[in-house]
């Protein structure tokens, strides 16, 4: 990229010869490139670095677990069947909570987008709710929904709800007004306009809100499982954390991270399918 700089400068100085010479190249660069292999390589390098550092002793054993031990923990977790015992309740909580929260969020967001009254009343409420840390509300959730699954679903749903509301009404607001005007000019009913123009037009925004909502839902798994969960990835991590069992802590964190990356890949896949009409 530095040669852009140099040729750029060269052009701006009058040349000392006047014979025909090629026009210097000064374009290129500034193009996002992707390379999946390099990403994997970086992971491998980091893991190798930590492994060697810990074995050689120039990384303290207190600060990080041996990657190979984390892997062994993971294998053991898998072989003992405990992996599923932890994963299934967590996935259930994630799916139920996030679905409830996302549906409610999309519904409320659409109402806000369509009705001035809902907007005036609810937007400040959602704005006030957004920065409230959900862990702070844990004791209340237990009273409201009990220590069973109810409070966990509710916590995750609440976490998914607020970003979905914000994303949805933003998306509805951003639907091309000429398309709506077109619908009106053809005498479409209000319901038709909402179903056929507003909602599909808001879909890209809703899906990108879903990405954030689901990431937050995964993050809240741990908070949700702080209360009264014996099984679950979050409970596993919390237990490992409170015992300073770094191997298990990392194994759990890796599981959540994989879950997050997988969720985001699923959303990307849905986007590609549902939004095939985009360029």
């Amino acid at each position: 990229m530095t040669d852009t700089l140099q040729t750029g400068r060269a052009v701006s100085r009058p040349p000392d010869h006047t014979g025909p010479r090629p026009v210097p190249f000064r374009g290129g660069g500034f193009r996002p490139t992707t390379n999946r292999w390099a990403g994997a390589l970086v992971f491998v390098l980091i893991v190798a670095f930590v492994e060697i550092g810990l074995r050689a002793g120039w990384i303290s054993k207190l600060t990080l677990p041996l990657p190979s031990d984390v892997f062994a923990t993971f294998v053991q977790l898998y072989e003992s069947g405990l992996l599923w015992k932890h994963l299934i309740p967590s996935l259930t909580r994630f799916v139920v909570g996030a679905t409830l929260g996302a549906l409610a969020g999309i519904g409320v967001g659409t109402l806000i987008g369509l009705f001035g009254l809902a907007r005036a009343g609810l937007v400040p409420l959602v704005a006030a709710l957004f920065p409230v840390p959900k862990i702070a509300l844990l004791p209340l959730f237990v009273i409201w929904f009990g220590i069973g699954e109810g409070s966990k679903y509710a916590l995750i749903a609440l976490g998914t709800f607020t970003p979905m509301v914000v994303a949805t009404y933003g998306a509805v607001d951003n639907v091309d007004r000429t398309l709506i005007r077109m619908g009106q000019s053809f005498g479409l009913s209000w319901g038709s306009i909402v179903r056929k123009i507003v909602l599909p037009g808001a879909m890209p925004g809703i899906l990108s809100g879903l990405r954030i909502g689901l990431a937050i839902a995964i993050i809240l798994l741990v908070a949700a499982e702080m209360l009264g969960a014996q099984y679950g990835i979050g409970a596993y991590i919390l237990e490992a954390g409170s015992l300073y069992d770094l191997e298990r802590l990392f194994a759990g964190v890796v599981i959540l991270s994989v879950l997050g990356v997988a969720t985001s890949a699923v959303v990307a896949w849905v986007e590609r399918r549902v939004l095939r009409w985009r360029s």
Binding site: W144, G228, L238
Partner: protein, 311 residues
């Protein structure tokens, strides 16, 4: 078929009576079908009772418990674990670093950091009482969870802490942490844990009495076997193998035996309640502003079920 109830429990030796009553069928004989609900800490247990998820539980008096009692949600009606001079109760521990800096007794802790889970926990109360008795000042550091306090103590990020004997013995044995005193010396007769339930359940005399009766039988078994050694070593072995799966589910009974025996503390016969100690705890919470000053003793405790001692 017995009446189904849920009992909150921690995987601690101090909850032995619940496990004994379950294993030996005392609950069933009292007409109760008990399902244990395990918690990681005392605090959420009180909230779970208030929410109606759990019927009875046994744990220390905390600020949260008192607040919920004030809102008419829970009530204390019996005592359990007590400090008693002569029995190795809760220990006061100090970190290796503090020891090296010359802390050899609680009196030397002036201005140092005392670990606790949360403000208003029993750790907070004990630290405050020790400080009061020694005339020293302590800085209280909330760390949310017992293991976090242990970690902070081992790495010298807090200087002192008080904890039940089975945990203390393990820590002291590791050599990183040192014992510098006993809580029993500062708070003789300290009512460490109490029995409580939702106000509605406590009002149900028949149910509560049934539960208490079963627990009282288990307490007698426990004290006789573990403290008075009425059945000798064999009895202790039996008891350990009964408790081990509850208290240390991921250890073998042999591994569990040591800490279970070391963790033995007297549990009040007949679930008698040390009213004076409870009153002192309430007074302290109120004087610290941790709970509302308007709460009366009667809001917290129903003394009609068990014998009051120490008053």
């Amino acid at each position: 078929q017995g009446r189904a109830i849920k009992v909150g429990a921690l995987r601690f030796t101090s909850h032995a009576p619940t496990f004994i009553a379950m294993e030996r069928g005392y609950f069933a004989e009292a007409g109760l079908e008990v399902e244990p609900v395990f918690f990681q800490a005392a605090q959420p247990m009180a909230v779970a009772i208030a929410a109606g998820d759990v019927d009875y539980a046994m744990t220390s008096i905390t600020g949260g418990l008192i607040s919920l009692a004030q809102k008419g949600a829970v009530k204390v009606f019996g005592g359990a674990l007590s400090e008693e001079q002569g029995i190795p109760g809760q220990s006061i521990l100090t970190s290796g670093a503090a020891m090296e800096a010359g802390v050899t007794s609680p009196a030397g802790l002036d201005g140092r950091r005392w670990g606790m889970t949360t403000a208003g926990s029993s750790f907070h109360y004990m630290g405050a009482k020790v400080a009061e008795a020694e005339g020293i000042g302590l800085e209280f550091v909330p760390l949310q969870k017992v293991p976090a306090v242990i970690g902070a103590l081992r790495t010298g990020q807090v200087d002192a802490w008080a904890i039940v004997p089975h945990i203390a013995s393990g820590l002291v044995a590791s050599g990183e942490v040192h014992e510098i005193g006993r809580i029993a010396d500062y708070l003789p007769g300290y009512q460490v844990t109490t029995m409580f339930g939702s106000t509605a359940n406590v009002a149900d005399r028949e149910l509560t009495q049934a539960w208490l009766d079963a627990m009282a039988r288990a307490i007698t078994d426990y004290n006789a076997t573990m403290i008075d050694r009425a059945s000798g070593e064999a009895g202790v072995q039996d008891m350990v193998s009964l408790l081990a799966p509850y208290v240390y589910p991921d250890r073998t009974p042999e591994e569990a035996a040591g800490p279970i025996v070391a963790g033995t503390m007297r549990i009040n016969e007949g679930a008698a309640l040390n009213v004076a100690s409870v009153r002192d705890q309430l007074d302290w919470f109120q004087s610290e502003g941790l709970v509302d000053a308007s709460i009366a003793f009667e809001d917290l405790v129903d003394t009609s079920y068990v014998e009051s001692v120490g008053a």
